[in-house]
Amino acid sequence: MSSPETPTKTISDFEAKLAEADKTVAQFQADDRSTFNILKGVLRRNPTLIPAAVLIISYLAFGLAAFAMDHGNFFRGTVLSTILQQMTVVGFIALAQTLVILTAGIELSVGEILIMSALIMANLGVNPENPEVPGLAAPLAIAAGVGIGALMGLFNGILITKIKLPPFIVTLGTLSIFRALKLAYSHSESVRNVDIEAKAPSLLFFGQGFKFGTFNVTYGMIGLVLLAAVVWFALNRTAWGRHVHAIGDDPDAAMLSGIKVDRVLITVYTAAGAICGLTAWVAIGRVGSVSPIAFGDINLASITAVVIGGTSLFGGRGSVVGAVLGAIIVQLFTTGLSVAVRVDDYWQTFAAGCLVIVAVALDQYMRRASK
């Protein structure tokens, strides 16, 4: 033991002091319990509360604005049900986008995968290859559509992992490739609603629903809730989901931790493609027909929804519930501005742009507060 009388003799003698070390578990003085700090702490632990609060507050604000401007009752069930019906397709695609963005990637070709799958689904359903078994035509068409979506996702995944290109570049390229393929395949022709209704009505399943008072529940909405639950479970309760987060966080650390990064990334892009394929079925139900030029802006709409929902574009952090809430928020602003406030269309786009910037600014602020 060292003291002025007995100076340190050996190089690790100072460690002898450790016998006197404090052995109690660390205690920390609690934070300043002001309301603001408590609120910040709660939001930090449950980041999904932010989009949820934005959604509720803006819904109330649009309702009050509608009353104040004498534009009718915004709170009636039909308005809410219209908003939810219109956001369903974006909500589905946002789930696919969430998977990809969690790995710090981006998927710009989701819209083209969606339309390609929808075209194949509708064409096979309307002109079945195997007319002897008419009952099998629609299920086969749906399976083919989902399968082709997964295949296109797989193609993206292979380019990203095997040729080691950035996801932005790969999906920017496949965006154009898939767009050209879809126009070539369809000869730029739509599949008409009357044909689908006559020959493959089950393709329209997700557009149907039931009344709940004035509120119209479609099977598409129920499907969105179910798929969100499945994706949430996969991301939060399975090893695969942990690996997706780890890869987005730090791909090198994930590799050294023994995660097969390439394999996980390929499954992520394939799953995203399959979700787009499934969404094609929902979109046919929603629109009733398939046009090769529909859903042109859904790529960016899905990214907007994901970001507003609090998922970080840098990967590793985000939430499935947030993505769905984000999609509802965007649609609420679009519908609210046209129904409750009654401004011109372009202000809706303006609002969506502002939302993205505010959402990311808020996210960055919360991030800094947690450091």
Partner: protein, 259 residues
């Protein structure tokens, strides 16, 4: 002499024009603590990565318990029982402590929840992680579910060491395990190294901290210019000898600099 548990011969690795390993040999015997020392850029980390599967050598052979192995990734080395703490720690900041400890080897729930729905058994993993951290004396960690990014550098290193000690079954490799630790935590890591050795598992310790190396190691592998210069017994050589060998100030007996 007993059979080495890890035996590597003539390992070569180039990164473009940079030679990281130039015909490196390596031996680890059962039950020993082997120190690896060397100057910065001598290729210690590349040697370790070759043994832990993170780097595939261009030439050379690695044998584990007498059988040739060719690791294509860290997961294969881990599967073979070689557990590594990297200098960068290889942890995912946004995930929790328990998630990080089990990354890549999650326990699934028993029954249909695990086999069909692939559900992870979080309660069991949390309890195990908590137990291993307590063994290491990391008492300042308040919550096993807190994200790794909220921990200090030393606490992170402690978690990484606890992870390797908990899962290593054949060999534990520690690359600078005490670099970011305080005096007390360093001492705990050194004790932990002794504990792991008592379980019969050999350890490779890479460190710049000569007192630590000379205190715990049975043999010290001196690395210089991409290859093994010599192996010394810390009881017969002084720390200044070791520093002289690894920096080229002195050539050990029976070794010529060119060899």
């Amino acid at each position: 002499m007993t059979q080495p548990i890890i035996k590597a011969r003539g390992l070569m690795k180039r990164y473009g024009t940079v030679v990281a390993m130039n015909g490196c040999d390596f031996d680890l015997y059962p039950g020993e603590i082997l120190g690896v020392i060397g100057d910065n850029g001598a290729g210690k980390s590349t040697l370790i990565k070759a043994l832990s599967g993170a780097v595939t050598p261009d030439h050379g052979t690695i044998e584990l318990e007498g059988k040739a192995v060719h690791f294509r990734g860290p997961e294969e080395a881990r599967g073979a029982g070689i557990e590594t703490v990297y200098q960068t720690l290889a942890m995912s900041p946004a995930l929790s402590i328990a998630d990080n400890m089990f990354l890549g080897r999650e326990w699934r729930k028993p029954g249909i929840l695990g086999s069909v729905f692939r559900m992870t058994d979080r309660a069991r993993m949390n309890a195990f992680a908590r137990e291993k951290l307590s063994e290491l004396g990391l008492m300042t960690i308040q919550n096993i579910n807190q994200a790794v990014e909220t921990l200090s550098g030393g606490q992170r290193q402690g978690v990484a060491v606890a992870r390797a000690a908990a899962f290593g079954s054949k060999v534990v490799i520690l690359d600078e395990p005490t670099a970011a630790l305080g005096v007390k935590e360093s001492r705990r890591v050194l004790e932990l190294i002794q504990d792991v050795r008592k379980r019969g598992i050999p350890i490779i310790l890479i460190s710049h901290n000569m007192p630590h190396v000379f205190e715990v190691c049975d043999r010290v592998h001196v690395h210089r210019l991409g290859r093994r210069l010599c192996v010394i017994d810390p009881k017969q050589h002084s720390m200044s000898d070791a520093v002289a060998y690894m920096t080229g100030a002195k050539v050990p007996d029976g070794v010529t600099e060119a060899a």
